[in-house]
Symmetry: C2
Subunit: 303 residues, 2 copies
């Protein structure tokens, strides 16, 4: 089973990248798209993010076999309600949201009787909007599919195959486990990056200009993900609240232990941790989830 | 005033990069080098990190006009004691340590009567050892020079000019202010990165393999600096303890405020912070301290 017509709702980084990746990898698939912002629709049409940019959400989804909602997770419920009256019977509804239990609940409520299989491609950059997408965004990245318990296995496989064709690797798990995994691998890192960038910009003893000048000492690595889309991330933290707070609690305990080690001059405890953490990066590089070039290879990229 | 003979003690990432940068930018300057580890000395000679790799620290520094200590900050005192009996009168002693007040005190104690001007090139990668250095490491990076109150201004200028010739931009400040500035721009980011990588590897609910697989969601950005040299960083935290603990306290307060905003569903507070933090990254890029390419340009670097 394949999807002859795919509708993309929300034409930002993720929606745009899906459209471009379909054009490159599934040239026979027809794509339509809609975005609530007319400026985004115009720019999406200029870049050719989808075959047809529609002026109403109804038009965009009317003939689709697969509808992918690529809007902030807080807007998923409203988007689902907006498409509900216009869907073909049996059309599969999926999404790209970064939290899954809340999205699954919102879609199920708005779309009774419609097949729903949420998914989350773990890919992105700090850029957002219709100019940010590119066709290879999903290459060698994982896409986590979180089917409800009663999902049709054939549809799960069809959606998985769709993502594989765009370059992704597939993992299937339930929404609750997804939310825990992403809380530690994505949501907590963003929360911490936003916090430290905020802390640094609010100091009295150190000027903002000094923070910027000497950011190559480590700080600048955090600023990349702290430049991500504010609306998207506000919604992620509100929708995955419990898992994020749990991981934050663990992190805070570990940070307190390290604070104590520094205060008491316990060099061995520091050294032990600093040695252990190297192994994780090695594995990430071995598994193709990051580049091995020192400094992320930035030195070769001077602009 | 220029330095005709430069001795480099410690031939890792920093020492090796200085040697290579001298060869490229100051071809008439003679360089000698020493490392306590014979394997490092052998590899340094193979790579030609300095003109002459010496088998004793005495030989390396005997004729030098400028000696640069490139060892972990906890080893600065011992290195200074080791060179003390062998220095030419008037030879300038400097270093590359990441904390400055404690280094300045250690050098002053070990080298009475010798001119001492500590410095800190804010540059590096997560790599360490004699294979990590490269000649352009200091290009467009800041080097902070922290002269003691009684330093000879002509020597301060000579050292500054030396660093400018290697590609760096110079800022002069006192050691205490340096330590505060670096606590927020470098030491706290490393501490937080080490902590979250440790937290992620200790969870029961999420396996280490899952953390690695889905690290592209943000976590992998932290693993780069958490792969830095453990000895160097243990020493940094122990030697800049007060400033690090102060910045950590500020960070923890801000994190608690954000935790509360999530718990109470205060989306506006989250959105406000997430919007403010974008401006800092823009400034860092405008000032050439990071690349503008999305995702640090990693996508162009698949290995």
């Amino acid at each position: 089973m394949t999807f002859a017509r795919v509708a993309i709702v929300g034409l930002g980084l993720l929606g745009g990248s899906i459209g471009l990746a379909i054009a490159e990898n599934l040239p026979d698939t027809q794509t339509t798209g809609f975005d609530a912002d007319p400026d985004v629709r115009r720019r999406a049409a200029e870049r050719g993010l989808v075959g047809t940019v529609c002026d109403t959400i109804a038009e965009a989804v009317a003939d689709a076999d697969l509808v992918i909602l690529c809007v902030p997770v807080g807007a998923m419920g409203a988007a689902a309600q907006a498409i509900a009256p216009h869907l073909k019977p049996g059309a599969l509804v999926s999404d790209t949201g970064s939290s899954k239990a809340s999205v699954q609940a919102a879609l199920a409520q708005a779309l009774p009787g419609q097949p729903i299989i949420p998914a989350h491609p773990v890919a992105g950059t700090e850029r957002s909007g219709p100019d940010a997408g590119f066709a290879t965004l999903f290459q060698n990245r994982w896409c986590i599919v979180t089917p409800p318990a009663d999902a049709d296995p054939a549809l799960v496989e069809a959606l998985s195959e769709f993502w594989r064709t765009l370059g992704a690797k597939i993992e299937v798990m339930d929404a609750e486990h997804h939310d825990l995994v992403l809380a530690i691998t994505s949501h907590l890192p963003h929360l911490i990056a936003y916090t430290i960038v905020g802390t640094a910009s609010d100091l009295e003893q150190v000027t903002r200009s000094e923070v910027i000048k000497y950011s190559a000492g480590g700080f600048r690595d955090f600023t990349r993900i702290a430049a991500s889309d504010p609306t998207m991330w506000r919604d992620v933290f509100l929708s995955n609240r419990e898992a994020v707070l749990e991981m934050l609690q663990r992190f805070s305990e570990d940070l307190t232990a390290l604070q104590r080690a520094i205060r008491w001059g316990d060099g061995d405890a520091l050294y032990d941790l600093f040695t252990r953490t190297r192994a994780i990066r090695r594995s990430i590089i071995e598994q193709g989830q990051d580049v091995a070039s020192p400094d992320f290879g930035r030195e070769g990229l001077k602009e």
